[in-house]
Protein backbone atom coordinates (compact mmCIF):
# COMPACT_ATOMS: atom_id res chain seq x y z
CA UNK A 1 0.00 0.00 0.00
CA UNK A 2 1.27 3.45 -0.90
CA UNK A 3 0.62 6.69 0.98
CA UNK A 4 1.21 9.81 -1.09
CA UNK A 5 1.76 13.15 0.52
CA UNK A 6 2.84 16.32 -1.17
CA UNK A 7 3.73 19.97 -1.13
CA UNK A 8 2.90 22.28 -4.04
CA UNK A 9 5.90 20.98 -5.98
CA UNK A 10 6.99 17.70 -4.44
CA UNK A 11 5.34 14.33 -3.90
CA UNK A 12 6.63 11.73 -1.47
CA UNK A 13 5.54 8.11 -1.67
CA UNK A 14 5.58 6.00 1.47
CA UNK A 15 5.36 2.25 1.04
CA UNK A 16 7.06 -1.08 1.70
CA UNK A 17 8.61 -1.18 -1.79
CA UNK A 18 10.17 2.26 -1.44
CA UNK A 19 13.16 3.45 0.54
CA UNK A 20 12.37 4.40 4.11
CA UNK A 21 10.85 7.87 4.40
CA UNK A 22 12.30 9.84 7.31
CA UNK A 23 9.86 12.22 8.97
CA UNK A 24 12.16 14.74 10.67
CA UNK A 25 11.19 15.18 14.33
CA UNK A 26 13.26 18.19 15.33
CA UNK A 27 10.68 20.95 14.84
CA UNK A 28 9.13 20.42 18.25
CA UNK A 29 9.72 22.71 21.23
CA UNK A 30 8.91 20.06 23.86
CA UNK A 31 12.18 19.50 25.68
CA UNK A 32 14.07 21.84 23.32
CA UNK A 33 14.53 25.03 25.28
CA UNK A 34 16.26 27.10 22.61
CA UNK A 35 13.59 26.41 20.01
CA UNK A 36 10.83 27.02 22.57
CA UNK A 37 12.31 30.38 23.51
CA UNK A 38 12.69 31.50 19.90
CA UNK A 39 9.07 30.54 19.17
CA UNK A 40 7.86 32.42 22.26
CA UNK A 41 9.59 35.50 20.89
CA UNK A 42 7.99 34.98 17.48
CA UNK A 43 11.38 34.32 15.90
CA UNK A 44 11.03 31.67 13.20
CA UNK A 45 14.62 31.67 11.94
CA UNK A 46 15.72 28.79 14.17
CA UNK A 47 12.73 26.79 12.96
CA UNK A 48 13.77 27.44 9.35
CA UNK A 49 17.33 26.37 10.15
CA UNK A 50 16.07 23.15 11.72
CA UNK A 51 14.00 22.50 8.61
CA UNK A 52 16.97 22.94 6.29
CA UNK A 53 19.34 20.90 8.45
CA UNK A 54 16.94 17.99 8.48
CA UNK A 55 16.28 18.12 4.75
CA UNK A 56 20.03 18.20 4.10
CA UNK A 57 20.31 15.11 6.31
CA UNK A 58 17.75 13.20 4.29
CA UNK A 59 14.39 14.04 5.85
CA UNK A 60 11.70 13.66 3.19
CA UNK A 61 8.88 14.94 5.37
CA UNK A 62 9.11 17.43 8.25
CA UNK A 63 7.02 17.13 11.38
CA UNK A 64 5.93 20.57 12.59
CA UNK A 65 4.90 20.94 16.23
CA UNK A 66 4.80 24.41 17.77
CA UNK A 67 3.08 23.65 21.07
CA UNK A 68 4.53 26.03 23.62
CA UNK A 69 3.24 26.88 27.07
CA UNK A 70 0.68 29.67 26.89
CA UNK A 71 1.07 30.67 23.21
CA UNK A 72 -1.56 30.98 20.46
CA UNK A 73 -0.72 27.67 18.86
CA UNK A 74 -3.01 28.05 15.82
CA UNK A 75 -1.50 31.38 14.77
CA UNK A 76 1.99 30.04 15.37
CA UNK A 77 1.29 26.91 13.31
CA UNK A 78 0.17 29.01 10.36
CA UNK A 79 3.30 31.18 10.61
CA UNK A 80 5.51 28.12 10.97
CA UNK A 81 4.08 26.40 7.89
CA UNK A 82 4.59 29.55 5.83
CA UNK A 83 8.12 30.07 7.15
CA UNK A 84 9.14 26.49 6.39
CA UNK A 85 7.52 26.55 2.95
CA UNK A 86 9.60 29.64 2.18
CA UNK A 87 12.84 27.69 2.57
CA UNK A 88 12.05 24.13 1.49
CA UNK A 89 9.48 22.22 -0.56
CA UNK A 90 9.37 18.95 1.39
CA UNK A 91 5.83 17.97 2.44
CA UNK A 92 4.88 18.66 6.04
CA UNK A 93 3.40 16.66 8.87
CA UNK A 94 1.18 19.00 10.91
CA UNK A 95 1.53 17.96 14.53
CA UNK A 96 -0.58 19.12 17.45
CA UNK A 97 -2.64 17.64 20.26
CA UNK A 98 -5.29 20.28 19.53
CA UNK A 99 -7.77 19.65 16.69
CA UNK A 100 -8.23 23.38 16.03
CA UNK A 101 -4.50 23.77 15.47
CA UNK A 102 -4.51 20.90 12.98
CA UNK A 103 -7.43 22.56 11.14
CA UNK A 104 -5.69 25.95 11.13
CA UNK A 105 -2.53 24.40 9.71
CA UNK A 106 -4.38 22.45 7.05
CA UNK A 107 -6.33 25.53 5.99
CA UNK A 108 -3.15 27.26 4.80
CA UNK A 109 -1.17 24.22 3.68
CA UNK A 110 -0.71 23.86 -0.06
CA UNK A 111 -0.63 20.20 -1.03
CA UNK A 112 -1.58 17.00 0.76
CA UNK A 113 -0.31 17.08 4.32
CA UNK A 114 0.15 14.40 6.89
CA UNK A 115 -1.66 15.02 10.18
CA UNK A 116 -0.15 13.97 13.52
CA UNK A 117 -2.27 12.65 15.13
CA UNK A 118 -5.52 10.87 15.81
CA UNK A 119 -5.93 7.92 18.13
CA UNK A 120 -8.66 5.66 19.49
CA UNK A 121 -9.91 8.19 22.05
CA UNK A 122 -13.55 9.05 21.52
CA UNK A 123 -12.78 12.77 21.29
CA UNK A 124 -9.97 12.34 18.75
CA UNK A 125 -12.11 10.13 16.53
CA UNK A 126 -14.90 12.72 16.65
CA UNK A 127 -12.74 15.82 16.25
CA UNK A 128 -9.61 14.93 14.29
CA UNK A 129 -10.79 12.42 11.69
CA UNK A 130 -13.46 14.74 10.17
CA UNK A 131 -10.79 17.45 9.74
CA UNK A 132 -8.53 14.95 7.98
CA UNK A 133 -11.41 13.92 5.72
CA UNK A 134 -12.37 17.53 4.93
CA UNK A 135 -8.86 18.45 3.77
CA UNK A 136 -8.22 15.04 2.17
CA UNK A 137 -5.02 14.72 4.18
CA UNK A 138 -3.27 11.59 5.40
CA UNK A 139 -3.20 10.89 9.12
CA UNK A 140 -1.01 9.25 11.73
CA UNK A 141 -3.11 7.18 14.13
CA UNK A 142 -1.73 6.10 17.48
CA UNK A 143 -2.90 2.81 18.97
CA UNK A 144 -4.03 4.25 22.27
CA UNK A 145 -7.50 5.12 23.55
CA UNK A 146 -9.37 6.49 26.56
CA UNK A 147 -8.12 3.55 28.62
CA UNK A 148 -4.48 4.45 27.99
CA UNK A 149 -1.52 3.10 26.08
CA UNK A 150 -1.74 -0.67 25.79
CA UNK A 151 1.41 -2.70 26.29
CA UNK A 152 -0.01 -5.81 24.62
CA UNK A 153 -0.44 -6.56 20.92
CA UNK A 154 -4.15 -7.59 20.74
CA UNK A 155 -5.35 -4.31 22.30
CA UNK A 156 -3.20 -2.31 19.89
CA UNK A 157 -4.73 -4.30 17.02
CA UNK A 158 -8.23 -3.69 18.28
CA UNK A 159 -7.68 0.06 18.52
CA UNK A 160 -6.13 0.07 15.04
CA UNK A 161 -9.24 -1.67 13.67
CA UNK A 162 -11.57 0.80 15.38
CA UNK A 163 -9.75 3.80 13.94
CA UNK A 164 -9.68 2.32 10.45
CA UNK A 165 -13.42 1.61 10.62
CA UNK A 166 -14.25 5.11 11.80
CA UNK A 167 -11.97 6.67 9.17
CA UNK A 168 -13.52 4.56 6.42
CA UNK A 169 -16.99 5.80 7.41
CA UNK A 170 -15.75 9.35 6.82
CA UNK A 171 -14.34 8.46 3.41
CA UNK A 172 -10.68 8.47 4.41
CA UNK A 173 -9.04 5.81 2.23
CA UNK A 174 -7.02 3.08 3.94
CA UNK A 175 -3.83 4.19 2.20
CA UNK A 176 -4.10 7.58 3.89
CA UNK A 177 -3.93 6.01 7.34
CA UNK A 178 -0.52 5.55 8.89
CA UNK A 179 -0.55 3.64 12.14
CA UNK A 180 1.87 4.28 14.99
CA UNK A 181 1.81 1.23 17.28
CA UNK A 182 3.65 3.22 19.99
CA UNK A 183 7.01 2.02 21.17
CA UNK A 184 7.48 2.47 24.91
CA UNK A 185 10.75 2.80 26.77
CA UNK A 186 12.73 -0.38 27.25
CA UNK A 187 14.29 1.20 30.32
CA UNK A 188 10.95 1.04 32.11
CA UNK A 189 9.86 -2.32 30.64
CA UNK A 190 12.46 -4.56 29.05
CA UNK A 191 9.84 -6.27 26.87
CA UNK A 192 8.57 -2.99 25.39
CA UNK A 193 10.75 -3.30 22.28
CA UNK A 194 9.62 -6.83 21.56
CA UNK A 195 6.00 -5.87 22.05
CA UNK A 196 6.25 -2.95 19.58
CA UNK A 197 7.95 -5.19 16.99
CA UNK A 198 5.19 -7.77 17.31
CA UNK A 199 2.54 -5.07 16.96
CA UNK A 200 4.18 -3.75 13.77
CA UNK A 201 4.17 -7.25 12.27
CA UNK A 202 0.54 -7.92 13.22
CA UNK A 203 -0.68 -4.59 11.85
CA UNK A 204 1.24 -5.15 8.61
CA UNK A 205 -0.28 -8.62 8.26
CA UNK A 206 -3.85 -7.64 9.09
CA UNK A 207 -4.25 -4.09 7.83
CA UNK A 208 -1.34 -3.74 5.42
CA UNK A 209 -1.10 0.00 6.10
CA UNK A 210 2.04 2.09 6.33
CA UNK A 211 3.42 2.51 9.80
CA UNK A 212 5.44 5.08 11.64
CA UNK A 213 6.91 5.02 15.12
CA UNK A 214 8.45 7.62 17.38
CA UNK A 215 11.65 5.66 17.84
CA UNK A 216 13.31 8.03 20.28
CA UNK A 217 10.95 6.87 23.02
CA UNK A 218 12.51 3.40 23.01
CA UNK A 219 15.84 4.62 24.33
CA UNK A 220 14.62 6.96 27.09
CA UNK A 221 16.72 6.49 30.21
CA UNK A 222 19.47 4.48 28.50
CA UNK A 223 23.02 5.34 27.47
CA UNK A 224 24.09 5.48 23.81
CA UNK A 225 20.58 6.43 22.79
CA UNK A 226 21.16 6.91 19.06
CA UNK A 227 22.52 3.39 18.71
CA UNK A 228 19.61 1.97 20.71
CA UNK A 229 17.21 3.83 18.41
CA UNK A 230 19.09 2.69 15.32
CA UNK A 231 18.98 -1.01 16.18
CA UNK A 232 15.29 -0.74 17.00
CA UNK A 233 14.59 1.08 13.72
CA UNK A 234 16.39 -1.52 11.61
CA UNK A 235 14.41 -4.32 13.27
CA UNK A 236 11.17 -2.36 13.07
CA UNK A 237 11.61 -1.81 9.32
CA UNK A 238 11.75 -5.58 8.87
CA UNK A 239 8.44 -5.85 10.69
CA UNK A 240 6.54 -3.17 8.77
CA UNK A 241 7.81 0.28 9.69
CA UNK A 242 7.91 2.46 6.55
CA UNK A 243 8.17 6.09 7.76
CA UNK A 244 9.81 6.59 11.15
CA UNK A 245 9.56 9.93 12.94
CA UNK A 246 13.15 10.46 13.98
CA UNK A 247 16.21 12.72 13.89
CA UNK A 248 18.10 12.41 10.59
CA UNK A 249 20.73 14.93 11.69
CA UNK A 250 22.01 12.23 13.99
CA UNK A 251 24.42 10.28 11.79
CA UNK A 252 24.09 7.02 13.73
CA UNK A 253 20.38 6.99 12.98
CA UNK A 254 20.69 8.14 9.42
CA UNK A 255 23.45 5.65 8.65
CA UNK A 256 21.34 2.83 10.09
CA UNK A 257 18.42 3.80 7.87
CA UNK A 258 20.58 4.13 4.75
CA UNK A 259 22.09 0.72 5.41
CA UNK A 260 18.70 -0.82 6.05
CA UNK A 261 17.57 0.39 2.61
CA UNK A 262 20.75 -0.99 1.07
CA UNK A 263 20.35 -4.42 2.67
CA UNK A 264 16.76 -4.56 1.49
CA UNK A 265 17.71 -3.84 -2.13
CA UNK A 266 16.44 -0.26 -2.18
CA UNK A 267 19.69 1.56 -2.84
CA UNK A 268 21.00 1.03 -6.35
CA UNK A 269 24.79 0.64 -6.46
CA UNK A 270 24.87 1.72 -2.79
CA UNK A 271 24.84 5.31 -4.01
CA UNK A 272 22.62 6.77 -1.27
CA UNK A 273 24.73 5.22 1.44
CA UNK A 274 28.03 6.26 -0.16
CA UNK A 275 26.97 9.84 -0.73
CA UNK A 276 25.58 10.08 2.79
CA UNK A 277 28.83 8.69 4.14
CA UNK A 278 30.86 11.15 2.08
CA UNK A 279 28.81 14.08 3.42
CA UNK A 280 29.80 12.98 6.90
CA UNK A 281 33.47 12.43 6.10
CA UNK A 282 34.46 15.19 3.68
CA UNK A 283 38.14 15.13 4.68
CA UNK A 284 38.52 11.64 3.22
CA UNK A 285 37.71 12.86 -0.30
Amino acid sequence: METKISSLTKEVIIGPDHPVVIIGERINPTGRKKLARSLEQGDLSLLQQEALRQVAAGAQVLDVNVGISGGDESALMIQAIKAISDVTDVPLCIDSAKPEVLAAGLSVYKGKALVNSANGEESKIKEVLPIVARYKAAVVCLTMDDKGIPSDVPTRMKIGDTIVNEATKLGIPLEDIIIDPLAMSVSADDRAGLSALKALAEIKKNLGVNQTIGASNVSFGLPDRAFVNGVFLAMAIMKGLTCPITDPTNWTIRETLLLTDLMLGKDEFSMNFISGYRDQHPEED
Binding site: G67, S69, G148, M184, S187, A188, D190, G221
Partner: protein
Amino acid sequence: MSDLEAIKQAVIKGKRKDIAGLVQVAIDAGADPQEIINGYMIEAMKEVGARFEAKKIFVPEMMIAARTMQSGVDVIKPLIAAGDEIKKIGTVVMGTVFGDLHDIGKNLVVLLLESSGFEVINIGENVTSEDFVEKARELKADVVGMSSLLTTGDPHLKSTIEAFKKSDLNGKVKLVCGGAAVTKKFAVDECGADGYATDAVDAVRVMKQLLEIAA
Protein backbone atom coordinates in the same frame (compact mmCIF):
# COMPACT_ATOMS: atom_id res chain seq x y z
CA MET B 1 32.13 -4.76 55.42
CA SER B 2 29.58 -4.71 58.22
CA ASP B 3 26.20 -6.37 57.73
CA LEU B 4 24.56 -2.97 57.46
CA GLU B 5 27.06 -1.59 55.00
CA ALA B 6 26.48 -4.72 52.90
CA ILE B 7 22.78 -3.88 52.81
CA LYS B 8 23.53 -0.38 51.60
CA GLN B 9 25.85 -1.66 48.88
CA ALA B 10 23.30 -4.30 47.80
CA VAL B 11 20.66 -1.60 47.29
CA ILE B 12 23.06 0.65 45.39
CA LYS B 13 24.07 -2.21 43.10
CA GLY B 14 20.50 -3.55 42.77
CA LYS B 15 21.24 -7.04 44.11
CA ARG B 16 17.65 -8.11 44.39
CA LYS B 17 18.43 -11.76 45.10
CA ASP B 18 20.83 -11.02 47.95
CA ILE B 19 18.93 -8.38 49.83
CA ALA B 20 16.48 -10.54 51.80
CA GLY B 21 19.30 -12.72 53.14
CA LEU B 22 21.44 -9.72 54.04
CA VAL B 23 18.58 -8.06 55.91
CA GLN B 24 17.87 -11.29 57.77
CA VAL B 25 21.52 -11.61 58.83
CA ALA B 26 21.55 -8.02 60.11
CA ILE B 27 18.32 -8.52 62.06
CA ASP B 28 19.54 -11.81 63.55
CA ALA B 29 22.63 -9.92 64.68
CA GLY B 30 20.38 -7.46 66.51
CA ALA B 31 20.14 -4.52 64.12
CA ASP B 32 17.21 -2.13 64.58
CA PRO B 33 14.72 -2.53 61.70
CA GLN B 34 13.98 1.19 61.49
CA GLU B 35 17.68 1.94 61.42
CA ILE B 36 18.21 -0.50 58.52
CA ILE B 37 15.70 1.45 56.47
CA ASN B 38 16.49 5.01 57.50
CA GLY B 39 20.20 4.72 58.08
CA TYR B 40 21.16 2.45 55.22
CA MET B 41 18.51 1.81 52.55
CA ILE B 42 17.38 5.41 52.21
CA GLU B 43 21.02 6.49 52.31
CA ALA B 44 21.72 3.99 49.52
CA MET B 45 18.93 5.49 47.40
CA LYS B 46 20.33 8.98 47.97
CA GLU B 47 23.60 7.74 46.55
CA VAL B 48 21.71 6.15 43.62
CA GLY B 49 19.91 9.43 42.97
CA ALA B 50 23.17 11.35 42.98
CA ARG B 51 24.77 8.90 40.55
CA PHE B 52 21.72 9.14 38.28
CA GLU B 53 21.91 12.93 38.25
CA ALA B 54 25.61 12.72 37.44
CA LYS B 55 24.64 10.42 34.52
CA LYS B 56 26.82 7.65 35.94
CA ILE B 57 23.90 5.24 36.08
CA PHE B 58 20.74 4.89 33.99
CA VAL B 59 17.01 4.51 34.52
CA PRO B 60 16.92 0.69 34.71
CA GLU B 61 19.66 0.73 37.36
CA MET B 62 17.71 3.24 39.43
CA MET B 63 14.58 1.12 39.11
CA ILE B 64 16.30 -2.09 40.10
CA ALA B 65 17.86 -0.34 43.13
CA ALA B 66 14.42 0.86 44.24
CA ARG B 67 13.00 -2.65 43.78
CA THR B 68 15.87 -4.10 45.78
CA MET B 69 15.10 -1.74 48.62
CA GLN B 70 11.45 -2.74 48.38
CA SER B 71 12.37 -6.44 48.73
CA GLY B 72 14.41 -5.55 51.81
CA VAL B 73 11.57 -3.54 53.32
CA ASP B 74 9.23 -6.51 52.76
CA VAL B 75 11.44 -8.59 55.09
CA ILE B 76 11.49 -5.86 57.71
CA LYS B 77 7.78 -4.92 57.70
CA PRO B 78 6.45 -7.89 59.72
CA LEU B 79 9.18 -7.34 62.31
CA ILE B 80 8.11 -3.86 63.21
CA ALA B 81 5.92 -3.97 66.30
CA ALA B 82 2.19 -3.45 65.80
CA GLY B 83 1.19 0.19 66.06
CA ASP B 84 4.79 1.17 65.47
CA GLU B 85 4.70 1.69 61.73
CA ILE B 86 7.64 2.37 59.47
CA LYS B 87 8.13 6.10 59.85
CA LYS B 88 7.27 8.19 56.80
CA ILE B 89 8.60 11.64 56.19
CA GLY B 90 5.50 12.87 54.41
CA THR B 91 2.52 11.89 52.26
CA VAL B 92 2.50 12.60 48.53
CA VAL B 93 -0.38 12.20 46.10
CA MET B 94 0.98 11.80 42.56
CA GLY B 95 -0.91 11.89 39.29
CA THR B 96 -0.77 12.84 35.60
CA VAL B 97 -3.09 15.72 34.70
CA PHE B 98 -6.36 15.39 32.78
CA GLY B 99 -6.04 14.60 29.07
CA ASP B 100 -2.62 13.01 29.47
CA LEU B 101 -1.88 9.30 29.71
CA HIS B 102 1.90 9.40 30.16
CA ASP B 103 3.01 7.36 33.14
CA ILE B 104 6.69 6.44 32.85
CA GLY B 105 8.15 9.65 34.29
CA LYS B 106 5.50 9.92 36.99
CA ASN B 107 6.04 6.30 38.04
CA LEU B 108 9.76 6.95 38.32
CA VAL B 109 9.03 9.87 40.63
CA VAL B 110 6.74 7.62 42.70
CA LEU B 111 9.43 4.95 42.97
CA LEU B 112 12.08 7.42 44.05
CA LEU B 113 9.83 9.20 46.55
CA GLU B 114 8.90 5.87 48.12
CA SER B 115 12.50 4.86 48.45
CA SER B 116 13.29 8.22 50.03
CA GLY B 117 10.88 7.54 52.89
CA PHE B 118 7.69 9.18 51.61
CA GLU B 119 4.26 7.59 51.71
CA VAL B 120 3.14 7.88 48.09
CA ILE B 121 -0.29 7.33 46.62
CA ASN B 122 -0.22 7.03 42.85
CA ILE B 123 -3.64 8.13 41.61
CA GLY B 124 -2.85 7.33 38.00
CA GLU B 125 -3.19 9.26 34.76
CA ASN B 126 -5.88 11.48 33.19
CA VAL B 127 -6.78 12.81 36.65
CA THR B 128 -9.35 15.64 36.88
CA SER B 129 -8.75 18.66 39.10
CA GLU B 130 -11.67 17.53 41.32
CA ASP B 131 -10.05 14.14 41.83
CA PHE B 132 -6.71 15.68 42.68
CA VAL B 133 -8.30 17.82 45.40
CA GLU B 134 -10.55 15.07 46.70
CA LYS B 135 -7.74 12.52 46.97
CA ALA B 136 -5.41 15.04 48.59
CA ARG B 137 -8.05 15.78 51.22
CA GLU B 138 -9.00 12.14 51.81
CA LEU B 139 -5.38 10.98 52.11
CA LYS B 140 -4.21 14.04 54.07
CA ALA B 141 -1.48 14.75 51.56
CA ASP B 142 1.41 17.04 52.46
CA VAL B 143 2.36 17.38 48.81
CA VAL B 144 0.54 16.88 45.51
CA GLY B 145 2.68 16.08 42.48
CA MET B 146 1.30 16.81 39.01
CA SER B 147 2.89 15.40 35.88
CA SER B 148 2.22 16.85 32.42
CA LEU B 149 3.88 15.73 29.20
CA LEU B 150 1.67 17.46 26.63
CA THR B 151 1.45 21.17 25.98
CA THR B 152 -2.34 20.64 25.95
CA GLY B 153 -1.94 19.87 29.65
CA ASP B 154 -1.30 23.54 30.51
CA PRO B 155 -4.94 24.56 31.09
CA HIS B 156 -5.49 21.42 33.18
CA LEU B 157 -2.41 22.09 35.27
CA LYS B 158 -3.62 25.62 35.80
CA SER B 159 -7.19 24.65 36.69
CA THR B 160 -5.95 21.97 39.11
CA ILE B 161 -3.78 24.50 40.92
CA GLU B 162 -6.71 26.94 40.98
CA ALA B 163 -8.99 24.25 42.39
CA PHE B 164 -6.55 23.76 45.28
CA LYS B 165 -6.30 27.49 45.89
CA LYS B 166 -10.07 27.79 46.09
CA SER B 167 -10.46 24.76 48.36
CA ASP B 168 -10.09 24.31 52.10
CA LEU B 169 -6.64 22.83 51.36
CA ASN B 170 -5.26 26.16 50.19
CA GLY B 171 -1.92 26.74 51.89
CA LYS B 172 -2.07 23.36 53.64
CA VAL B 173 -0.80 21.23 50.78
CA LYS B 174 2.26 21.96 48.66
CA LEU B 175 1.80 21.73 44.90
CA VAL B 176 4.70 20.52 42.75
CA CYS B 177 4.68 20.22 38.95
CA GLY B 178 6.94 18.44 36.49
CA GLY B 179 7.09 16.74 33.08
CA ALA B 180 8.47 17.52 29.65
CA ALA B 181 5.78 20.08 28.76
CA VAL B 182 6.03 22.09 31.96
CA THR B 183 8.34 25.01 32.60
CA LYS B 184 9.13 26.58 35.96
CA LYS B 185 7.97 29.90 34.55
CA PHE B 186 4.52 28.54 33.73
CA ALA B 187 3.97 26.32 36.77
CA VAL B 188 5.39 28.54 39.50
CA ASP B 189 5.27 32.11 38.17
CA GLU B 190 2.03 31.97 36.18
CA CYS B 191 -0.04 29.31 37.93
CA GLY B 192 1.27 29.69 41.47
CA ALA B 193 2.55 26.17 42.14
CA ASP B 194 4.87 25.86 45.16
CA GLY B 195 7.56 24.01 43.26
CA TYR B 196 8.81 22.68 39.94
CA ALA B 197 11.03 19.63 39.43
CA THR B 198 13.13 18.81 36.38
CA ASP B 199 13.33 15.05 37.01
CA ALA B 200 12.66 12.34 39.59
CA VAL B 201 15.72 13.12 41.69
CA ASP B 202 14.88 16.82 41.65
CA ALA B 203 11.28 16.01 42.67
CA VAL B 204 12.51 14.35 45.87
CA ARG B 205 14.74 17.35 46.61
CA VAL B 206 12.03 19.95 45.92
CA MET B 207 9.40 18.15 48.01
CA LYS B 208 11.81 17.74 50.92
CA GLN B 209 12.69 21.42 50.73
CA LEU B 210 9.03 22.43 50.75
CA LEU B 211 8.39 20.26 53.81
CA GLU B 212 11.60 21.50 55.42
CA ILE B 213 13.07 18.02 55.69
CA ALA B 214 16.85 17.82 55.75
CA ALA B 215 18.27 16.44 52.49
